[in-house]
Structures are given as C-alpha cells and as structure tokens.
Assembly symmetry: C2
Homo-oligomer: 334 residues x 2
C-alpha cells in the first residue's frame, strides 16, 4: 500500500522517497530493476528507492512521512523511524489494525502517539489515520479510489487534500478513532462474509446472498457500536471507512480468502499459516485476536452486544463449528 501511494503523491506534485522494511528488500530490488513485484508495474521514475538499511537517508529532508506497513509492523517500524528523525514530522498512516505496544493492543494512533512523545516530548504531532476502500493494485492503475483521512490537525487536513488527484479522492473527518476502528474491524468482518462463501458456495452456488447480506449488515451495525463506545461518530461506520471499506474487503482480498478457507473446513490456524507461507497476511485474524483483548479491556460492557464479533471469535479463535455457530447466532441474536 505504501508503494501504491507513490502514484497519487507523484501525480499531485510531491517528491517521494520509498523505503522498504527488512521484509521488503525484494520489492525495492524489483522496483529498481523496473517492475514492482506486487504491483506488477514500474514506479514513476522520480521516486527515490531505499532498502531496509537506508532508512536515515530515505527520511533525511522529508517534510512528512507515510507509514504503509501491516499492523504487526507498525510499532517496530515507527520506532526505527523515530530513531533517525531529526525533528517532528507529520505522520500519515495507512496501517489498518490494532498495534501491540509492549504487550497491550491499542489503536495505532494511541501507540504512535506514545512512541512519538517518548522521542519528541510535546513537539507537535500532526497525526492522520487513513481509511477507505483503496486497494493498492487498483490505486496503482488509477482506478477511482476514495480515501478518508481522520485527523485532528487542520494542517494535516490541508496537506491531505493536496494529495488529491482525479483518481485518488480525499475526504477528511476529525473522527480519528472511528476511522481507525472501522479500518481494523472491517478485516475481521470480511472474514465473516468469506466464511459464508466457503461454507455455501458448493451447496448453493451463488444462492446464499441473503445470509451474506445479513452478515454484511450486522458488521456495519457492530462497527458503529464499537465506534460509538470509543467516543467516535457512528457516521464514520456508515461511510467510506466502514461501509465502503468493508464492501471492497468482502468482495476479494486476503481476509475474505481466510474466511473462505475456514468456511470450507480448514482449521483457522492452519489457514493462517498456509496463507503466510504463500506470502499473504490474514490481518483480520490478528485483528480479531487483538480486538477481542482490546474490547475486553476497554469496553467490556458492549461485548455482549456484538454477536457477530463473538461468533467469529468462537469460530476462528476457539475452533467452533462454522455452520451451527452462524445459524445459532441468526436465531438467537439477529
């Protein structure tokens, strides 16, 4: 995703340095050789390319930084970036999920703010969490793609809007919590739609959409509930960060596929490992684990009002039976 963002940034007139983590040296090698291996196309020529050992050079002189790593990678990568940052910079993060900071799952902006303050004290932090239905492969092909920038910083709003192109659309909201929670939870809930696909695609080919729709709809209700409990706006769940991003994630992608494998009968841990061995990260599985802990610590009072979340936990974290768990949820809670 970080790689794909270079297209709108270059097209809107920015100079961009792209740095790859210690897991991404092959991506940078590929991009240098002429084709980005994941995006399957060359990057704009003006983009500076930096391998994992070259973080200081990549950040040197940058006016702002974008972080596009997975939720697992956010804390270690941001820690490295802070070590070589000379002064506070505005941070835009594309990470979707919960971050684990010193053993505790938290919203990425919470973890990021803690780390930032440890380095820069109260030096100004212009933080933006980016959500919305923007798949990297499509963004790199200029498919019209809408992002939602959650930030409390007026400066970051103005900067974010300057990234806009004909195909990369930027809306803004002050509801950082809402954007972050929807972005994390949509990966969880997309697994639910995938479960349904895996469970029924042979028995009822293309004819189980009433249930998919019930799961999709319930996902939005529950995301709105979690956002409200955290003090965010339910509207955030009903717009790009929620409805829009869950839609794209339920259509295709890694989390839908993880659910599909489990729906077909594979054990969740086995499905996660199989995907990882193929270079695919099922972030929804991690977000489900982290989200369950985060909810029970931060909002224990609403857990019983999230029947789909609880059913997905039962299936994916406790190896509960797929079909009977879904049917019981429908009859008892929906």
């Amino acid at each position: 995703m970080g790689s794909a963002m270079v297209f709108p940034l270059v097209d809107s007139g920015f100079e961009v340095n792209l740095w790859g983590t210690w897991l991404d040296d092959d991506l940078i090698d590929g991009a240098r050789a002429g084709e980005h291996p994941r995006l399957k196309k060359s990057l704009p020529e003006s983009v500076g390319l930096f391998k994992s050992t070259e973080l200081a050079e990549a950040i040197d002189g940058a006016d702002m930084i974008f972080i596009g790593v997975s939720s697992e990678g956010f804390v270690p990568v941001f820690e490295e970036a802070l070590k070589v940052m000379q002064s506070p910079r505005p941070v835009f993060t594309l990470t979707k999920g919960f971050s684990i900071l010193r053993g505790t799952p938290q919203r990425t902006s919470t973890a990021g703010t803690t780390l930032f303050k440890e380095t820069f004290g109260n030096g100004p932090l212009h933080w933006t969490s980016i959500g919305g239905p923007v798949k990297a492969f499509e963004l790199a092909r200029a498919i019209p793609s809408p992002a939602i920038y959650g930030t409390a910083s007026a400066q970051a709003v103005a900067t974010g809007r300057s990234f806009q192109t004909d195909y990369y659309r930027v809306r803004t909201t002050t509801d950082v919590a809402g954007v972050e929670l929807c972005s994390a939870l949509k990966n969880v809930y997309a697994m639910g739609v995938g479960l349904c696909d895996g469970l029924f695609h042979e028995r009822f080919p293309r004819n189980y959409h009433n249930l998919s729709s019930l799961l999709f709809n319930q996902s939005i209700r529950e995301m709105a509930e979690v956002v409200a409990a955290e003090g965010g706006k339910t509207e955030t769940a009903y717009d790009l960060a929620g409805v829009g991003d869950l839609y794209v994630t339920a259509q295709s992608g890694k989390n839908q596929y993880f659910g599909y494998l489990v729906g077909e009968g594979m054990a969740p841990e086995e499905a996660y490992q199989k995907m990882q061995s193929e270079g695919q990260l099922a972030e929804g599985y991690l977000a489900l684990k982290a989200g369950r802990d985060w909810l029970s610590s931060n909002h224990p009072d609403i857990v019983s009002e999230l029947p789909l979340f609880n059913t997905l936990s039962h299936i994916a974290l406790e190896n509960g039976p797929v079909e009977s768990s879904l049917r019981e949820m429908v009859v008892n809670h929906l």
Copy 2:
C-alpha cells in the same frame, strides 16, 4: 417473491392461499403440476393455488393479504383485490419501487392508502411495507434471510413477528417511508454497481472494486438523504432496508445485470427490452424514471445533492456516456 413467502408462512403455522396474476397462470399451473417454475421446487402441499380468474375465492375468508407483485403491477392488482375484499384486511406488501397511480409516481403505501380509503373510507388500515435482503429463490431454500417490516400498526408488528422462523427473521420499524424508499432506490443504485462491472470487467478483471465500493458507499449516503427529506430515519438506510438489501442486489440479480449490459455498451432501452423478452424485469430502470419524477415533485431541493442518482439518470435515461459520466461525477462531486 409472493410464492417464496409461502415457505415461512406455512412453517410458522399459517394456512396460505397463493393467487397468481394474469401474468402468472403458468406459475400456478407449474406449482399444481409439482414444481414452481421460478423457484424450481414444489410448494408445501397445504398451499391453496389459485389462477388469475380465481381472486375472489383466494381472498375469501383470508385474515390478511400479502402482495408480492412488481411495482408496475401493484396498483392494478390492489384495485382488483379491493373489489373482491368483503371487509378491510391487514395488508403486507413485498413490492419494491414507486407505484404510478393515475399518472403520478408515489410511494406504494401512499397509493395503497388512497385506493383503500376509496373502498373502505376510514375503515382501519393495518399497512406494512416489507424490505430487507430476501431473494425469493434463497428464501425458498431456507437460507437465513432477514426482513424489515415497516409499519405504524402495533397489531401488524405482532402479526409480522409471528411469521418468524429459524431462517426467516423479522425486524420491525415504524419508519414506513424509509423502508419503502430504500427498497425502491436500492434497485436504482444496484444498476450503478452493475454499470461498473460491465465497464471494467474485461479491462481490469476483478480489479475495479475501489470504484464499486465508492459507488456502493455513495448509494447509501444518497438513500439516507432521500429518506431524511421524506421525514424518515437515516438509520433505516444504514440497516437491512438500505445497506443489507443493496448488498444482496449489487451481488447479483436483475438490476445489477441491467447495469452490466449498459456498462458493456448496450443502449438502456435495448437492455430493458432484451431482458423483458427473456422474462426478466429491470425494476431499477422503472424506479429510476419514477423516482426522478417523484423527487422533482416532492423534494426538488435535494436533487442537486444526489450526484450518483443524477449520473445514473443521465446514463440510463438520456443515453449519456458511461465511463466519462462516472469519472466526471467522481472528480466533481465525490
């Protein structure tokens, strides 16, 4: 849809008579012979089957009536039903779309109430408009299916809940307008997702979902706007009647297919006729025409705030170019 409803009604203990309109004699013949031609299965044995000339017998002694015809058929069918009704009966309607009563498009409950009062004066009308993601073929196979009953009648709420089974779930709301408008408009907006499929499926196979999601998301925003203008609740658009039903309709079905044909380059009127010749009604095309008139008569002030609706009008009713119209909308309005 009327035929499929017999399954949960019989399973929840009701005696059911199924009457087919003058367009449906073949369905009744098929059902009598052992297989319903559309549902591809036999109906429960206890169901009484009545052909078009047998309406009075079908209604005789009925405690309530369900109407499951298309939006075009609602007025003529309800007029016929009122002629043979001995006394006021509660009405449950599955019709989704605008009805045209004496040349004027209106919500189906508005048209229905007018006709009812002309027959029974102020005799009590227990009216329920039913929405939600319930495709007939799936309901007939007991795929878990959630309906939302919009009614102002406490008696109808209780009756509606008694239809519930393990697979047919009934939620209720007093927001009749919201349920009706979402049910009509989701057919319009599903055409938008279909347009995108037809336009891009060859050029970017499975890789245009950022745009599909933007259209899906915008559809929900606009449905909420129309519902609010009519005095309904925006929550209705964010729940089963809106998000849920648009999801099922965008995945498959006649309106998505109509959009698909137009997206591939077929003229809208030609696509409508082609589908009709194959026995498929693109109700979204009718709802777009009727909805445009209804909006300009009833809510002219919000028309400019519905860029996707207007773009779909331009494409489907004025033969506007598909791709450039969509791209202009994205750049200028989203």
